[in-house]
Amino acid sequence: MSCVRFLDKPGLFWKTLFLRNNRSGRVLLEARASAPLDRNGMPNSRVKDEQTALSHGERARYHRQLIMPEIGEEGQKKLKAARVCVVGIGGLGSTSAMTLASTGIGYLRLVDKDIVETSNLNRQVIHWTPDLGRDKSASAGEKLSALNPEIRIHAVRMEVTDRNVVEAVGECGLIVDATDNLAVRRVLNRFSVERGIPFIFGGVEGFQGMVTTMVPGRTPCLECLFPAGEDPPQKEIGVPGPMPGLVASIQAVEAVKLLLGVGTCLLGRLLLVRGLDMSMREVAVGRNPRCTVCSAVRRKQ
């Protein structure tokens, strides 16, 4: 049986739950419920106590978050109930996966197709010298299990394509982009828009980086900003050790705020990070009415 959740109408989050028989494809049960939206455009719902009650160990581990007014016990339970998929466990994914794990995201799915190479080690801080030649997803999974045994981690070695994206992302409710190319980002973006799953885009090059948070129906999607054309051939780019960590930390803060329903996310705001003069600025971006992905989904509805 599989469960599907997607966004039906922009501005209003309808949770649609299908219980579907995987073999016959027949829908056994369909339930719909609308939920009020929080300021970041996410359904504002309380989590059920019995699923997420915090143990003594968790209370000690997350103490500095539990004493925060923005998180507290209710927020920590929301994080525990969350399912997040980090795609790409390289420079960006190392830091986003580690910080999301330590923060107490209840389920983390780590997807990468590559193995650890020597030239990764200047910036991909989750992989260490003894990991050379290992699957990146397995290497990261092992570190995160040691970092936080309270959470569930699923390491997946896979090259994400349109055909397997459902399998790659699983039933996660949030995608953190840590990929290194536009082609896979386009696949993830289409999936994000179709399923109404937020997608936190991040990219890094040299001493520069950019981040924006995309909530389908509310913000532009990746295709709005970078309409499909001829994608540049993937080239080897220089990246200094600390830069991916800086950009990925911003992505992880966005993920945590989005899951908690606190603060203001980078919605319709493309954050440009410039490490050389250590400045940041924003570009206000809107939905592209000619977008072939999110406008097409809107038209279908």
Binding site: D180, V204, E205, G206, G229, P232
Partner: protein, 71 residues
């Protein structure tokens, strides 16, 4: 009679252009062929499909940002 020329700012540097000049021309000249460049005119993001029809005016500030796609 020669066309009127005026100054605009492109990525922080003054540039003299002929009237009329479309944003597309500016992007072609300064975008390094980057099809995915993010273009702002006076702090406002411009959709790629609008480059050809948006005409620059004296004093306009154009920013062309090359996106970062590394991970």
């Amino acid at each position: 009679m020669s066309a009127r020329r005026f100054k605009i700012i492109v990525n922080g540097f003054a540039e003299t252009v002929d009237e009329p000049t479309s944003l597309e021309k500016i992007v072609e000249a300064h975008g390094d062929g980057d099809l995915h460049a993010i273009v702002e005119k006076n702090g406002r993001y411009v959709y790629p499909q609008e480059y050809a029809t948006v005409i620059v005016e004296p004093g306009d500030e154009i920013e062309i940002v090359h996106p970062d796609f590394g991970g």
